[in-house]
């Protein structure tokens, strides 16, 4: 992407990056004056993608706003692991109301700031995929259509993890959850269901929609920073593996996230005013199998091999590659 003078092709190493950059271009976390929006000592699981994504995202917001921010949190893992009274891990003003209303609460904070003429203070709302695509969807859509001055960040781990891994509207095809068990004629979550919230957000015509992944934290920080340079409703959808719910190795969270991107299952792109304006190309597309096989939630696709399901999921990835022109040779489909 345009900010990136040096391309990182992270093949096999997890530490490449910052050392190759000028100091001013290094990640927020590499800066000497880095902040700690989400402090150490919280109770996230080992390998939690959401904790990593939230810290990088909110630290980037702190940096972009000179610490002038208020965060609103939906109920969920992030809220629970960060806040057990009286041991809040938050170093920023932080408000949690209920599961389904974080976007509306954030709209209220923004309205109060407008009323008080304190618009230098910015508002971030955050929630998991359940809070975002399901129970809070009405409030989110309202916040979008009013173009309230809120950055909403969805940490998508593709199921209700806080309640013990149940299916959400963001659970992928054929994934096991405790409410889409790996039994019956079509084990796991059915094919061709669920919703694509970044595209629904784009349909609202809001100033900025972006997807990001904990596999590419520099990209994540850059998108958050860009979002904070814009007023109005903005939406960032971050893919965050959950070792508990995905039955993946906690040590492989970044690897799993990277394979989601490199297979094409989770495309990284930006859209402004409803039009895709940028995307992160894939150097070499990997087969979806490499991504799926690392996760126990897809185990039933491999024992015995479910060729039909694997082909269908591969087709979904190929469609994304085509739709967002993720391979350098692919022309865009006019999204």
């Amino acid at each position: 992407m345009s900010y990136q003078r040096i391309k990182f092709y992270q093949t096999g190493t997890f530490t490449v990056g910052n050392r190759l950059l000028e100091e001013g271009e290094r990640t927020v976390q590499a800066q000497k004056d880095r902040t700690n929006s989400l402090n150490s000592g919280h109770r996230a699981c080992q390998g939690c993608g959401e904790a990593l994504g939230a810290r990088y995202a909110l630290d980037a917001v702190m940096r972009a706003t000179h610490n002038q921010l208020v965060a609103v949190n939906a109920t969920g893992c992030l809220e629970v692991f960060s806040s057990p009274y009286p041991e809040s891990a938050w170093q920023i003003p932080w408000l949690h109301s209920v599961f389904g209303n974080a976007p509306a609460v954030a709209s209220g904070v923004a309205a109060a700031l407008r009323a008080k003429g304190k618009t230098d203070i910015r508002v971030v709302a955050q929630g998991g995929d359940g809070a975002t695509v399901d129970i809070g969807f009405g409030c989110l859509s309202g916040m979008f259509e009013r173009n309230d001055d809120v950055l909403y960040i969805c940490y998508d781990n593709e199921a209700y993890m806080n309640t013990g891994v149940q299916r959400s509207g963001a659970t992928p095809a054929r994934a096991w959850t405790n409410t889409t068990q790996a039994v019956g004629t079509e084990p796991g979550n059915p094919m061709n269901v669920g919703k694509n919230l970044p595209r629904i957000a784009m349909a609202h015509g809001i100033p900025l929609v972006a997807t990001a992944s904990v596999a590419d934290l520099h990209d994540l920080e850059t998108k958050v920073t860009k979002a904070m340079s814009i007023r109005g409703a903005r939406y960032i959808h971050i893919h965050v593996p959950c070792p508990l719910g995905w039955k993946s190795d906690p040590a492989e969270t970044i690897k799993v996230a990277r394979l989601a991107v490199e297979s094409g299952l989770f495309p990284l792109f930006e859209a402004e005013g409803g039009v895709v304006t940028d995307r992160t190309p894939i150097r070499k597309q990997v087969p979806v199998e490499q991504y799926l096989v690392l996760q126990g939630r897809f185990e039933h696709l491999f024992s015995p091999r479910d060729e039909q399901a694997l082909a269908a999921i591969q087709a979904m990835a190929d469609r994304n590659i085509h739709l967002y022109a993720l391979l350098p040779t692919e022309p865009a489909m006019g999204t």
Partner: protein, 417 residues
């Protein structure tokens, strides 16, 4: 200044005079005239820098105010009926967070069957949510209670519902003395929050609390309502000092001294009840009336003090604890525990059915002379009910009950008192 004005317009004027900073509204009858008027006033720049948000639901409306109030803004909305139930989760949450939001309830029945007319089922359903609930008898009191509500809410850091009967008050034109901005400013100081989201001094609001402290947090909510029992009369008196009229308080009494029989009710029906009391007293009946102005907190001790010499209290209530009877009368019985006073429950005015003076007078006479069954349903159409019960006993697929009853009563003999 006194003027002939619709209740909703008057309340909107009063709310605007309280200098709200954020309002978020979702339309529902019969609340609409209030929010329409406020939206116009805000857009015309008549309410300072107030922000008016048209939101996607009542749940969204109160959620917006939770954020706004936590950011230190004076916050207001209005709703009723299904809207109040739709926001129920946020209703409890706002009280749990101790956010001093003021909300008008244009009291309306709850479906099914869908019904847009007045009773008190909606706010009663939220009676234990932790909000204070003040009930207005007329539009002057509705205006005055809104002004008091902001002061009460912000002093205690506790949300307040101001309940006014849908249509009966919201859509009634009557004389109202609207205060001046100077009077309201003298009475209502700027909002000084006890907790606020501030990047200079970051706090977490709404963190999880486990068994080790949850009961203590709940006790402090209970304590706040006990404090309100003291604050409500004091603020009502402070209001009287500036505005030169009496409004609000815990209870309002009408000929209660030496009365053997006391009628007790919430809201606008108290006007009818006072007329009935006048007629009965003219004929020698020792009758008085109590208007319960503060339903939450429920003034147990004040009520006991007023009632203790009476033989009988007849509670006329526009709600129903299905299968049990009266909601208000249960609490009146709690207040009078150990006293020989009889308490009658009269379920009346459900779904907007008028409560006539004649019916109140007949009920008092029947209670005193023959006694009333418990609970007593005022003006019940037993013919229609018995026909429907017979139909249900005779055939399994008896069909939808509301539609059957509509057919039964017909429009011609619909009893309106």
């Amino acid at each position: 200044m006194k003027q002939q004005i619709e209740g909703s317009q008057a309340v909107a004027q009063a709310v605007a005079l309280c200098r709200p900073e954020v309002m978020a509204c979702y339309p529902i009858s019969p609340q609409t005239h209030i929010v329409e008027t406020l939206s116009r006033k805000v857009k015309a720049g008549e309410v300072g820098n107030c922000q008016f948000l048209n939101v996607e639901s009542e749940f969204g409306a109160l959620s917006v105010l939770i954020g706004a109030s936590a950011m230190g803004a004076r916050s207001y909305t209005a709703t009723t009926s299904q809207g109040l139930l739709f926001m129920a989760e946020a209703v409890y949450n706002a009280a749990g967070l101790g956010l001093p939001i003021v909300m008008t309830i244009a009291n309306r029945a709850i479906g099914a069957p869908i019904n847009i007319w007045n009773d008190h089922s909606d706010s009663m359903a939220m009676r234990d949510a932790g909000w204070l609930q003040l009930f207005a008898e007329d539009n002057q009191e509705a205006v005055d209670l809104h002004i008091q509500a902001f002061r009460l809410a912000e002093e205690l850091s506790c949300p307040v519902m101001v309940c006014m009967d849908g249509y009966i008050l919201t859509h009634a034109f009557e004389e109202v003395d609207l205060p001046t901005q100077e009077q309201v400013d003298e009475f209502l100081p700027p909002f000084e929050p006890v907790q606020v989201l501030d990047p200079q001094d970051p706090v977490s609001i709404g963190a999880m609390v486990g068994p080790e402290a949850f009961t203590e947090v709940r006790y402090l909510a209970h304590h706040k309502h006990l404090q309100a029992l003291e604050a409500i009369p004091r603020i009502s008196q402070a209001f009287q000092d500036i505005f030169q009229r009496s409004s609000g308080g815990l209870l309002k009494l009408y000929h209660t001294d030496e009365a053997e029989t006391l009628l007790l009710a919430l809201g606008s029906v108290n006007g009818t009840i006072k007329d009935a009391v006048d007629d009965l007293r003219a004929k020698g009946w020792r009758v008085g009336a109590i208007q319960l102005c503060s339903y939450r907190p429920f003034p147990l001790h004040a009520l006991r003090h007023v009632v203790h010499n009476a033989k009988r209290v007849i509670v006329i209530e526009k709600d129903l604890a299905v299968g049990n009877g009266g909601i208000v009368s249960s609490e009146v019985k709690l207040a009078l525990q150990g006293l020989p006073t009889l308490v009658d429950t009269v379920i009346a005015g459900l779904g907007g059915r008028p409560i006539s003076k004649a019916a109140v007078i007949d009920t008092v006479k029947a209670a005193c002379l023959e006694g009333l069954e418990e609970p007593h349903f005022l003006d019940l159409n037993w013919v229609a009910i018995n026909r429907e019960l017979t139909r249900q006993a005779e055939q399994r697929r008896s069909g939808p009950t509301p539609e059957n009853l509509l057919r039964e009563v017909g429009s011609a003999d619909w009893k309106t008192g």
